[in-house]
């Protein structure tokens, strides 16, 4: 139990996917102009990460390892994640149009999100059990959402601030992202590993 808690705190704060591992920077900068959309994207990522890690975990231990083709891990994972996101998109579109309306535009973005592939690969690299893998990927998604929402909140305020002309837009966003990342470095040492 304690072990799972350590994994959770580690993935959310210490080894935050965006701010410490620098994975998934593209949606982090791309859809963080409003807190609302950032939250929507975050929720979609949590969901996809969890489902993807379940599927890839089974793929690794029941197909790749028995056949002795672990070296195909990356390409197989990409294949499965892309197909999975497509499937999830179709199912949501049919079953819950409201949810699709709010997530719809973000789901295709997640297909090629390196954070999702990252979490799937790390699950294997760290030799996590199935339960550990699920907790790790869910908390990685939560960490991603936390970073997104914090950053979106900052950007909403920056938009109203007297930022010098030459710093407007992406420039100040990148500076802010760097500072936010530095702030998260303060969590280092809270959990080992």
């Amino acid at each position: 139990m304690l072990e799972l808690l350590v994994i959770l705190v580690s993935a959310v704060f210490v080894n935050n996917f965006v701010l410490a591992r620098f994975l998934g920077i593209c949606p982090f900068l791309g859809v963080s102009k409003k807190v609302e959309t950032a939250l929507g994207m975050g929720m979609a990522v949590i969901f996809v990460m969890t489902v993807a890690s379940v599927v890839t975990w089974f793929l690794q231990y029941f197909i790749l390892i028995p056949f002795g083709i672990e070296y195909l891990q990356t390409i197989a994972f990409i294949l499965v994640i892309a197909a999975l996101v497509q499937l999830v998109e179709m199912v949501i579109q049919k079953t819950s149009p409201v949810l699709y309306q709010s997530l719809g535009i973000f789901l295709p973005l997640i297909t090629t999100n390196c954070a999702v592939l990252g979490v799937a690969v790390l699950n294997i690299q760290k030799d996590y059990t199935f339960l550990q893998a699920v907790v790790f990927s869910m908390s990685a998604g939560i960490g991603f959402t936390l970073a997104m929402v914090l950053f979106a909140g900052l950007r909403e305020r920056i938009d109203l601030s007297p930022v010098p002309q030459s710093f407007r837009g992406t420039a100040i966003a990148l500076v802010t992202a760097g500072l936010l990342s530095l702030a998260f470095m303060g969590f280092a040492g809270l959990v080992k590993g």
Binding site: G68, L79, A83, L87
Partner: protein, 283 residues
């Protein structure tokens, strides 16, 4: 080697079959009319209709929340096609084109101060309400030119925006950008416009602009059914039927201009009804 090919191929095949079945099973019925309309729309995603893109507009037409005649870049042809798809009568939108209602370039209108800041009208407007003495005239720093997605606006060497009506699609991006609301939407069929935006009294206008409207009422006397004076500024009633051109020659400051003869000097402006320029003339 064989195992890896088969496994990866198998995963791919499985995913493809699963997705194929899912696509059938979870197919969401999209109105075929929506796809047909999307096909007809120009796909510029310019936002002139009020939707962020053509897809949203197609959806709104089918849902019945928006009329089919709002696509100005597509023109009459597109409207007709959409109306055909929807099975309704084509109602032309009476296309609107943008006109810069100002002739006071840096030679004809006086300046309060020399502006040396950013080449941007919105920035200039924030410094003591802009460098022009006229509170409503064109600043000529080209914010509208940069906003125009169709490359229809140019800035003359004397700092005045002019709009090429051939290229203008009526998307209103420039109208939204202009800090002084100098650009106005006018019916595409109209040729005569009052090219002034100042609501100051005549005596004051005379002090800062050679070509501003001084509200002398001469146009109103010449063609009362067409011209009105509001806030010391003449206005053409585009819907009214009357001798619009009669006032053009009589206007003492020449701020009423007949666009079929071109405007202003040296611009690439072509009136919608004027005969096309021959290559020699254009050169």
């Amino acid at each position: 080697m064989l195992a890896s090919i088969l496994t990866l191929g198998g995963i791919g095949l499985f995913a493809a079959v699963a997705l194929g079945i899912a696509a059938k099973k979870f197919a969401v019925e999209v109105d075929p009319r929506e796809l047909a309309i999307l096909e007809v729309l120009p796909g510029a995603n310019c936002g002139a209709c009020g939707q962020p893109g053509c897809g949203g507009y197609a959806k709104a037409i089918v849902a019945g929340t928006m009329p089919p005649n709002l696509c100005s870049p597509g023109g009459a042809e597109t409207i007709e096609k959409i109306a055909h798809i929807m099975g309704v009568e084509a109602v032309s939108a009476n296309p609107q084109l943008a006109v810069v209602c100002c002739q006071g370039d840096n030679l004809k209108a006086s300046l309060k101060y020399r502006y040396l800041g950013l080449e941007d009208c919105n920035a200039a407007q924030k410094i003591a309400d802009g460098p022009k003495t006229c509170p409503a005239g064109c600043l000529g720093l080209g914010s509208c030119m940069r906003a125009c997605p169709f490359d229809a606006i140019e800035i003359t060497s004397q700092g005045l925006a002019i709009i090429d009506r051939d290229k203008c699609t009526g998307c209103q991006k420039c109208v939204a950008t202009c800090p002084r609301q100098v650009i106005k939407m006018t019916p595409a069929s109209a040729t005569t416009h009052v090219l002034c935006n100042s609501t100051d009294k005549g005596a004051q206008v005379r002090k800062y602009c050679q070509v501003g409207c001084i509200a002398c009422q001469i146009c109103k006397k010449t063609a009362p059914e067409v011209y009105q004076i509001e806030n010391f500024l003449a206005r053409v009633d585009y819907a009214a039927d009357g001798d619009v051109l009669a006032a053009v020659a009589k206007c003492p400051t020449k701020c009423i201009r007949d666009f079929s003869t071109g405007y202003p000097e040296g611009s690439s402006f072509i009136a919608p009804n004027a005969p096309a320029k021959t290559p020699e003339e254009a050169a």
